[in-house]
């Protein structure tokens, strides 16, 4: 077990997000029903399932973008609608569409994206870009970058973020092998520091520590969340 908090704490890991009997239907097709799970501090959770099984929909519901669901969501034990500001101040959501403007440079993009959430200096931005391998591309408009580099601009936000919960939708898309490795390391490091990550990916995660999987099936009901205690 990693040493999460410096304060000796005997209680179970702090619960961040809890879902109770979530139900979502789309185009008269039930994506999931009676979905219950708890996300605690320091956990990495992978949501998996075939294409069209509702992974993105679930992430959009969890991050509060979509209201098309039934059931309850709790943030630190409080109903998410009443804890909305605290929830949003602790959430970093990287969507399917990365939110990177093609006609802005990486620096301008990050300044705009992060500047709305926290005070940030240009030095921090440059360091983050260096970490995702975009050194030398700081002032190139993003439409001149490759798909993977484009994606890396949004991933640079992870190096700038202090948010307690990361929700990453297909974060590994278009990233090369070395990039995937670096990202996996980052996620592990993050979890060790007490950060929480919920992600979807079709990539087989190679994490040293255990992580949980929530499997969304096409058989309309969800297979219960299973705990994988795998060791590499």
């Amino acid at each position: 077990m990693p040493a999460v908090s410096p304060v000796p704490d005997s209680s179970s890991p702090k619960e961040l997000l809890r879902a109770e009997s979530l139900f979502c239907e789309r185009d008269e097709r039930v994506l999931f029903e009676d979905l219950d799970f708890t996300v605690s501090q320091g956990e990495i959770i992978q949501i998996e399932g075939p294409n069209g099984s509702g992974k993105t929909t679930l992430l959009r519901i969890l991050s509060g973008l979509s209201g098309a669901y039934e059931g309850e969501l709790f943030w630190k034990g409080e109903a998410i609608s009443s804890a909305r500001i605290d929830f949003l101040s602790n959430l970093l959501y990287l969507g399917h569409k990365p939110g990177v403007k093609a006609i802005l440079t990486p620096v301008e993009n990050l300044r705009a994206l992060m500047g709305m959430r926290q005070s940030i200096t240009d030095k921090q931005i440059h360091e983050a870009l260096k970490k995702v391998g975009l050194y030398g591309y700081e002032d190139t408009p993003c439409h001149n970058l490759s798909a993977g580099q484009h994606r890396r601009v949004s991933l640079a936000r992870l190096y700038l973020s202090n948010d307690a919960l990361w929700v990453l939708d297909e974060a590994f898309t278009a990233i090369d092998k070395a990039g995937v490795k670096a990202l996996e390391n980052l996620l592990e490091q993050r979890a060790e520091q007490g950060g929480t990550v919920i992600l979807t990916t079709h990539h087989e995660l190679q994490l040293k520590k255990g992580f949980r999987k929530i499997t969304l099936g096409q058989k309309q009901n969800i297979q219960s969340a299973e705990l994988l205690e795998e060791s590499a």
Partner: protein, 228 residues
């Protein structure tokens, strides 16, 4: 983690949108060209008579400004929606109406203000007197922000649709009628040497109303558009 002040957030969004507008400046010329073309075709199509143009001039300039703004509205949230930036804007802990207000201000600066600057030239072309042109500019100064503010509600409601162009006009045009009537009415009254204080006060009231309410309405509309 230090959260930036509301003003900083407002300035960040405004700066971002103005940079975007500057990088795409050829798109910005469209509404202006449209504005100039409509007004300059009018004398050719109807009558180049001085008395007629003096009477109709203010109305023509106003209608052209209104249509030019309408033309530019669809792009207000569209590109942000398509590349996912809108999701990021909605997920900031800051109040969304403030961000929307910054976007509207940037829209007004890049479409409303150029129309305002062009209007005296077109006024001269319509044989308007100097005093009347001053009043026309005053009404446009109060009116074009209203056009951007109210239009933002329509743009926010239709951003999730594949082609919102027609719908936005249908939704927004009825809401544009009051400001159009008072805008042209003011200039008409001024050229007939009637007092215009009442008109200006009413336009100011419409401006204040839309300034306070439409960012909130547009923010709510954006949430709805994104939630499906």
């Amino acid at each position: 983690m230090s959260t930036p002040s509301l003003f900083r957030v407002f300035a960040t969004v405004l700066k971002r949108d103005l940079t975007l507008a500057y990088r795409r400046r050829q798109d910005l010329v469209n509404p202006m060209i449209f504005f100039v073309i409509v007004v300059s075709l009018f004398p050719l199509g109807v009558s180049p008579e001085k008395t007629f143009l003096q009477e109709a001039g203010a109305g023509v300039v106003w209608v052209a400004a209104l249509l030019a703004t309408l033309l530019s509205l669809d792009s207000l949230f569209r590109s942000d929606y398509e590349d996912g930036s809108l999701e990021q804007l909605i997920l900031t802990p800051q109040p969304l109406f403030l961000i929307v207000l910054a976007k509207i201000l940037s829209h007004w600066l890049v479409t409303g203000v150029p129309l305002l600057i062009l209007s005296p030239v077109l006024g001269v072309m319509m044989h308007l007197e100097f005093e009347t042109i001053k009043i026309l500019m005053l009404t446009l100064l109060l009116g074009t922000p209203v056009l951007s503010l109210i239009g933002a509600i329509g743009a926010a409601l239709t951003v999730g649709l594949k082609s919102g162009g027609v719908l936005i006009s249908l939704l927004i045009l009825p809401l544009y009628i009051p400001i159009l009537i008072f805008g042209t009415g003011t200039v008409q009254a001024a050229s007939n040497m009637l007092p215009i204080d009442g008109y200006i006060a009413l336009m100011g009231a419409i401006f204040a109303l839309s300034l306070t309410l439409s960012p909130i309405a547009a923010a709510a509309a954006l949430r709805i558009s994104l939630s499906n």
